[in-house]
Symmetry: C2
C-alpha cells in the first residue's frame, strides 16, 4: 500500500486524513492545536503523532503504509526543526513535507493553479497563487502591525469601543452589555463605571495576546441592531477588501478563495467583502472554505505527480465530507 | 531638624527632593525608573533608597532628619507592600506616604485645590480634583483598552500606517522612511517590501508592550509636512480632548494642568488639545508641567498641615528649579 497522510495543523485544531492517490479518504481524526509557532514545536509534533495514529487506526492502516506525508501550517520552515519527530517516532517511513496553511486554504476552494486567497481568523492575510505557488502576499503582519479585519482586529476595536462607552468618552453601544457578560464581569452596581472598568481591565489584560479575538463574534451578533458594531464590521470588511486589492499581480477574473474562522462563520462579512471587491472590478468567483484540509490533500497528491482537475477536486471534497461524518 | 523627603517615582526616572516646611529645596537627586508596577517592588524600593541617599547627601542631611516622607507613583496602594523597605533600611524614621502620580502632576501646575489634570506619556488619563483629592477619572485604561492620544496610541497608529504603506494597503507616508531608519531596518533593496516588512516585524514584536511608544515623536516631527502624520496627531488631540470633556464633574473654569512626556514635549499637541477644549466651552487656564515633583512636594507639605497658596507655590517652583540646576 502507498497511502497519503495529510495534516492540516491550525492554531486551535489539527486535522489528519489518510487517503489514497485518487483522493478517496480512508481515515480521519481531529486533534488539538498543532501550529508549532502557537503551541511550540514539541506540542505540535506530539499532536501530529497522536492525530495521525488515530486517523491511521480509523483507516485500518499502519504507519509503514504511508508513502507520502504533508502538513500544512503557518510559519516558515526555518523554525520548524523537530516538528516531524512525532511522525518519525510513530514509524512513518517517509519525510514530512511542509506547506503553507493559506495555500492549502486556496486549494480547498479550487482545482485551479492560479487565483488568490484571503484568510481572516485570529489574523488576516491574502496571497496570490500563480502556477500553484505563492507569488505575492499582503498583510498577515500580526496583531500589532497589521491583520486588518481579522478576529483580533475586530475584537480590539470592540473592547476599545466598550471601554470608551463605559468611560463616557464614546457612543453608547449594546456591545458593552454583551462584552461584560461574555467576559464574566459581575454586573452589580452598573452606575459605578470605574468598578466595571477595573474588572474589565483585570480580565482582558490577563488574556495572552491575541486571545481577545474570541470576542469578535459579538460584533457580528449585534451588527444589524447597533451602530458601533455595524461600523466595526463595515471597517473590517473594507480592511479585508483593501488587503486583496493591494495584491499587485492578482488576476481579478481568477477565483478568490476566502476562509479562516471569521470569514467562514460570518456570511455577512463575506458578502460585504465580495461587494466591495465587485465594486473595484473583481470579477472572479468568491468561494468560501471551512479549512485547508482538502487543499493540503491536493498539495500532497500534486507533489506525488497526481493531476487534480475540477471533477477529481469535487470527488475529493465529497469523500472528505463523507469520512468526516463517519469519524 | 524636621525635613521633608519627597519622591516622584516615574517609569523612566525617580526624583528625590529634600526640602523644609517652607518648600525651600536643600537637596535633589535623580535615579532610574522607580515605578513598582513597571520595575517591580524590589527595584522600586532599591531605587528610592539610592536616590534618597543621594538627595540627603546633597542636602548635607541624614536619614534620621526626615520627618515627613511621601512618594507619588502610579498604581494602587494595595500592590505596594514592601515598597518602603528601602527607605526603612536607610534609616528614615517615618512611614512613607503614597500619593497618585497624576494628582502630583496637577499640584505641580497649580496651588488650587480644584481643577483637572490631563496626562499623556506612554499612557493617557485625566482626573478631576475636588478639594485636593481625585473625585473622577477618565481613560487611563492601558494600551489594549484605552490610553487614547498617548505615546503608545500614537506609535501604534504610526507603525500600522507604515506597515499599510509598505504593503500598498494604505497611503504613502514619510513616516515609513522615518520609522525604518529609527527602528534600524537595513534599507538595502527598497523594492522588496516583504523583506522590509519581515525586518520590521522582527524588530517591533521584540519590543515589550507598550515600548513602541518611543517612536511617537516621529509623528510630531512630520505632522507639518505629511498628511498621515498630521492625521495621527489631530486624532490623538481629539482623543485627549474627549478624555477631558468626559470628566463628569469638571468645573470648566478651573485650571487644567497638562503633562506627561508627550504633552510636555509637544507644544503643537498641547495647542490642538487646548483649542478643542476652548471650542467645547472650557474657559479655565491650561498649564503645562514637566513632572509631578513640585506637586508631590505640595502633597507632602499639605499632609503636614502646611498651607500652600499661589505665592508659596511659585517660591517652591523657583527653589526646585534652583536646586535642579545645582544638583
Amino acid at each position: 500500500m502507498d497511502l497519503f497522510l495529510t495534516l492540516d495543523a491550525g492554531g486551535t485544531s489539527t486535522r489528519a486524513v489518510v487517503h489514497d492517490a485518487t483522493g478517496t479518504c480512508l481515515g480521519y481524526a481531529v486533534g488539538s492545536g498543532g501550529n508549532p509557532t502557537a503551541s511550540g514545536v514539541e506540542t505540535a509534533s506530539a499532536t501530529m503523532r497522536s492525530t495521525t495514529a488515530e486517523a491511521l487506526e480509523h483507516a485500518g492502516a499502519q504507519p509503514k503504509h504511508v508513502g507520502h506525508a504533508l502538513a500544512a501550517m503557518a510559519g516558515s520552515t526555518v523554525r520548524l526543526a523537530g516538528v516531524d519527530d512525532g511522525l518519525r517516532a510513530l514509524g512513518v517511513p517517509v519525510p514530512l513535507h511542509l506547506g503553507s496553511d493559506i495555500e492549502a486554504m486556496f486549494f480547498s476552494g479550487t482545482a485551479a493553479l492560479d487565483g488568490a486567497a484571503l484568510v481572516s481568523g485570529t489574523g488576516a492575510a491574502a496571497i496570490v497563487v500563480t502556477n500553484g505557488t505563492t507569488t505575492a502576499r499582503s498583510d498577515g503582519r500580526g496583531w500589532l502591525l497589521g491583520d486588518a479585519g481579522s478576529g483580533y482586529w475586530i475584537a480590539h476595536h470592540l473592547v476599545r469601543a466598550v471601554t470608551a462607552d463605559l468611560d463616557h468618552r464614546g457612543p453608547r453601544t449594546a456591545l458593552t452589555d454583551a462584552l461584560l457578560s461574555a467576559a464574566g464581569v459581575a454586573s452589580g452596581r452598573t452606575d459605578d463605571k470605574d468598578a466595571l472598568l477595573d474588572q474589565l481591565v483585570s480580565i482582558l489584560y490577563a488574556i495572552p495576546t491575541p486571545g481577545i479575538a474570541r470576542f469578535a463574534p459579538l460584533a457580528f451578533d449585534l451588527a444589524d441592531s447597533d451602530a458601533v458594531a455595524e461600523d466595526i464590521v463595515q471597517t473590517a470588511a473594507e480592511g479585508l477588501a483593501d488587503t486583496v486589492l493591494a495584491l499587485p499581480s492578482a488576476d481579478r477574473s481568477a477565483p478568490l478563495v476566502v476562509g479562516g474562522s471569521v470569514l467562514f462563520h460570518q456570511p455577512g462579512l463575506r458578502s460585504l467583502v465580495a461587494e466591495l471587491l465587485r465594486g473595484s472590478g473583481w470579477t472572479g468567483p468568491v468561494n468560501a472554505v471551512s479549512d485547508g484540509t482538502a487543499g493540503a490533500m491536493s498539495m500532497n497528491l500534486r507533489s506525488a505527480g497526481v493531476v487534480i482537475d475540477e471533477s477529481s477536486h469535487a470527488r475529493m471534497l465529497a469523500s472528505l465530507a463523507d469520512v468526516r461524518t463517519r469519524s
